[in-house]
Amino acid sequence: MRNTYEIVSYHSAHKRQVAKLQSYLWTQDASLAARYFEWKYEENPYLQTPLIYLAFQGRELVGMRGFYGAQWELGRPREVYSVLVADDLVISPRHRDRGLVTLIMKAAFEDLAKRGYRHVFNLSGGRVTVMGSLAMGWKSAGALEPIDLRSGTTFHRRLREFLTQKRFFWRYAGSPLFHSTAEREPFARFDRMSRLRANGSILLACEPRPDAMSELVVRLGHDGRIRHIRDREFFAWRFRNPLGIYRFLYLGDSQLDGYLVLKCAHPGALEPNKVKIVDLEATQPVQRTELLEVAIKSGRFAELFAWGATLPVDTGPYLSANGFRPADLESRAHGCPCVLVRPVSPKSVDSDWVLGDRRLTDLANWDMRMLYTMAG
């Protein structure tokens, strides 16, 4: 059969098919996939109409790429830009290696250019996606340098590693049976501790405080690097992510002196269940350290994970001194994860790689946090 594909823009009638296709990427739970889609694309505060490009063969949806809305601030004086984030690239296995990604992206860029977009970012692509993107003219601003702190799970981890190398048994390595309690329920200890006031002034909580968090971000000011807007609306939307479970450490009372946000994946998500530091703010370095100390000690997480590249200058050495080590070494050796950027126009000139007064391809111009990406 000849493989002819039709690339079309998303319409609400496609929602069920999209959720089904995303069982390869998001979750195999259809209702959870639908809820995630609605949150990410339909309730997105920065883009009212989902911009998703679908590849059909006949009536079958065989590939897609989504672009979700995001709003960035940068420069001095501060300027605000809407730059979409490319995500959710899935090609049905039977249709891989047939040039379908190129077809989808070509159609997407033509449409985005017509809509007036000048740049797109890609912030949480895996190695295969990054490779394909680089081939299509994206550039990496720099690697995000994953780091982690592991504790108390050597036995289970080694058992899983052993099983993955064994015929037949490899398929059971992901079973909850071969995970420690701390891995199965990453926030169990944290939640028990949250009933106490962990350390005089730090409160452990399950709920976000969008007003107080955004007020702190404004009070702390902005150094001009590229960062996502973190206003009340963003926080209120962001922590409703159905594929994430969030916990919060607050320093201060009605007016915050600092906060730290942790995330682990929903049990139904197709994502390793590590605990991630996705955002951290404080008025003073010593308060950042206090928040991190409480996160490390109160959680005793099997794996506490962060991106090291754009941490505040005092935070990296503190985490190293407390046992954090380079993580995901295989990805690191290949420059992943990274911030990928691309002008929408296929014939880009040097000035197209600049946004406001910032060169996009220099990681020093980014204040990158996991919360700005779907990793967080």
């Binding site: 040039g99 990604v101 990054v130 490779m131 993107s133 680089l134 050796a333 420059g335 992943c336």
Partner: protein, 81 residues
């Protein structure tokens, strides 16, 4: 078998939608023939040849690995260094 023959055989084994006529100088990357997964496998093959990891974010992948000739040149250059 030469390294060039090995590479040609590997690419042919991926069952890609190759044009009817192609040779060592035909564009594979910029033309979109090599998809993400094929590129990933290509990088693994290059790593095996040069004996070290290849970070594709550090060079212009679309130009430096565009054809079989380019890929072999890349292997030669990185082996030497």
């Amino acid at each position: 078998m030469s390294i060039g023959d090995d590479l040609t055989k590997l690419i042919e084994s991926w069952n890609l939608r190759m044009p009817d006529k192609w040779d060592d100088n035909s564009s594979l990357v910029r033309s979109g023939i090599l998809d993400s997964l094929a590129l990933y496998q290509l990088i693994l093959w290059i790593e095996k040849q040069i004996g070290k990891p290849v970070d594709p974010t550090q060079f212009d992948l679309a130009n430096e690995l565009d054809s079989i000739t380019d890929i072999l040149l890349f292997v030669e250059k990185n082996r030497a260094s």
